[in-house]
């Protein structure tokens, strides 16, 4: 637990002044109410956020989201922006799962239409979308094809007929970062990712079948096309082994070049280089390529899910993509007239209605933001808010946030009991590992209702709809 004194601001955020530690360049601000602050203070995440506040070129504040918890280097739920001109870029500020993110698809089906064959549907989704650790998918890529995925992202999948133009329009950055440099991605990274396109991966990654349970903002829900009672699908995964290896490779590179740039750090995992340096640019090119891979991964999974829904429900099972948003990324963005490299680690971009990167069709509501609850609990759809730019560089949280270690979760309740409890709630579960099921149990996470409430009240994003899970596929 951090011993630092923070100033509370109206149950919305806690501020640790830059004077709290000699090496901090800016203050650290955590969006939280008293209960969340108390939970956040139990691990090392506040110390980690203060470490972030020491990074060269950081502006305004190091921000912590309400779901913040201990990670490595950056806390999970950390946001920091560095000047592109003389600030740094840090692979540890993005994390190993580059462009881990969430997308939401919605159908015109009602719950009654899927309930009779729900178990079968969830099993079929699990069979069609490899979810386990390291298992390859069905889309194995040649070297040339992999380079196209890395360079073109979802645009390449248009050619493969795995994506539609509509899908790209509602994917962050249209599913492609133009600064991607496939040549900056190592052969090792490519070897790890080659047969992983279309796979979920392990840990907290999942695919859930949801019901739109309640509309909280009818106007924005209409803009997004969300109607109560409709069946939806939430997909959470990232760049798999390819992204993990890109981060591994560049943490190593940055670690070696920091003396050249006179950079010293309180935590070696924050290894970084000036954004404008050759090493910084090369990492940025590789990270963008890994991000393109991640969007392509979620798009390939979407294609598989659509195939399954099509087989089961025909045209009624058509799934429309609402949005796809990243939550582990460094992006070049202009804020307050300055070009910044905004690091979001376990944090979601949440641009408001006025932002030019919000898709035109959503300009009257704001960019959709998804906050999945823990397995078996409610998830939320929110809308990015214009005020969020001043509050957090247009960022929101990415989930409920862990409150309990994986070990402690397993000790608290065995996986088979977690499975039974979920099934008793009417949730069909496909997860080969009871251990992993226990690790991701609802009690291991913070209360998503409280987290979302702080996001809403602080003005980071506004509640639009609540989703209730009825099926879970896990690695």
């Amino acid at each position: 637990m951090s011993a630092v004194q923070a100033v509370s601001h109206g149950q919305l955020w806690y501020e640790i002044p830059a004077t709290a530690r000699a090496d901090m360049l800016v203050s650290a601000r955590v969006y939280a109410d008293a209960e969340l602050w108390s939970q956040i203070s139990r691990d090392r995440s506040i110390d980690q956020l203060m470490n972030v506040a020491t990074l060269r070129g950081i502006v305004r504040c190091a921000y912590g989201m309400p779901d913040m918890h201990e990670g490595y280097g950056f806390p999970v739920g950390g946001v920091a922006a560095m000047r592109a001109s003389d600030g740094v870029i840090s692979p540890g500020g993005v994390g190993y799962d580059i462009n881990c993110g969430v997308r939401l698809l919605v159908s015109e089906l009602e719950e009654a239409a899927v309930r009779p064959r729900l178990k079968e549907l969830v099993h079929e989704l699990s069979r069609s979308i490899p979810s386990g650790t390291g298992r390859g998918g069905r889309l194995s890529l040649s070297d040339a094809e992999l380079d196209r995925v890395l360079g073109e992202g979802c645009r390449y999948l248009l050619e493969r007929e795995f994506a539609t133009l509509d899908d790209l329009d509602v994917t962050e950055a249209n599913g492609r970062l133009g600064r991607a440099d496939p040549g900056a991605v190592s052969q090792r990274a490519k070897a790890r990712g080659r047969d992983q396109l279309g796979t979920l991966g392990s840990g907290n990654h999942f695919l859930e079948v949801e019901i739109v349970e309640q509309i909280l903002d009818p106007a924005s829900a209409r803009v997004y096309g969300l109607e109560p009672g409709r069946v939806a699908v939430l997909i959470h995964t990232g760049s798999r082994g390819l992204g993990h290896q890109v981060c591994t490779d560049y943490v190593r590179v940055m670690d070696q070049v920091m003396p050249k740039y006179g950079i010293t750090l309180p935590d070696r995992e924050l290894a970084c280089a000036p954004f404008a340096s050759p090493e910084g640019q090369r990492y940025f090119g590789a990270m963008c390529a890994a991000a393109n891979f991640a969007w392509s991964n979620r798009q390939t999974i979407t294609h598989r899910v659509r195939e399954v829904f099509g087989r089961y429900y025909g045209d009624a099972g058509r799934l429309r993509l609402i949005y796809d948003v990243a939550h582990n990324m460094a992006k070049l963005e202009e804020h307050d007239g300055e070009l910044l490299c905004v690091h979001r680690k376990g944090a979601t971009r949440s641009f408001g209605p006025s932002h030019p990167e919000t898709p035109a069709r959503y300009r009257s509501a704001g960019q959709p933001v998804f906050i999945p609850g823990s397995m078996g609990t409610r998830s939320y759809v929110l809308a990015g808010a214009d005020d969020g730019l001043a509050l957090s560089f247009g960022s929101s949280c990415h989930g409920a946030g862990r409150a309990m270690s994986r070990h402690a979760a397993k000790r608290t309740r065995p996986g088979h009991e977690v499975r039974r409890e979920l099934e008793q709630q009417g949730i069909a579960v496909a997860c080969p590992s009871s251990g992993e099921l226990a690790e991701e149990a609802p009690f291991a996470y913070k209360d998503v209702e409280r987290v979302v409430d702080v996001v809403h009240r602080a003005g980071l994003a506004c509640k639009v709809a609540r989703l209730r899970p009825i099926g879970v596929v896990k690695g």
Binding site: D43, T133, R268
Partner: protein, 136 residues
């Protein structure tokens, strides 16, 4: 001092503590722990030929991280989980190890990477101790 390893509490990731009489044995014990974490069970007996592994890094901490990431890479890409290690030589910047393991049915990729966060290799009575956090 013998070799030993244990998992410690961490909110989101896996934190490993390893103790051994020497740096070479520390690396070997951490390697065996990686196999257990990756598979989530006691690893199968090693079989097949020995493999020569050589890692060079800037210092001892980086060497340990790079070594573990090498094992993670082989596990994910070749389904080869190393479980037996013979340390040929170990300095602060170079590790040469013969390793043997088993090919497993499904490529384990529970561990994304070994990280530098909070990594310290410290002298303790009778040897060395390291704590490593793995992103999982």
């Amino acid at each position: 001092m013998g070799t030993a390893s244990e998992l410690l509490e961490h909110t989101a990731e896996v934190k490993l503590r390893v103790r051994a009489p020497s740096f070479g044995e520390l690396a070997a014990e951490a390697g065996r722990a990686v196999a257990r974490i990756e598979l989530g069970r006691v690893p199968p007996h090693a079989e097949g030929p020995w493999r020569e592994l050589e890692i060079g890094s800037a210092d001892r901490e980086a060497l340990l991280v790079d070594w573990l990431n090498e094992l993670i890479f082989f596990a994910e890409t070749e389904r080869w989980v190393a479980t037996e290690f013979e340390v040929q030589s170990a300095t602060d910047t170079l590790l040469r190890v013969r390793a043997r393991g088993a090919i497993v049915e499904e490529a384990p990729a529970r561990i994304k990477a070994a990280t530098f966060h909070g990594l310290r290799i410290v002298a303790v009575p009778g040897g060395l101790q390291a704590e490593v956090i793995f992103d999982v």
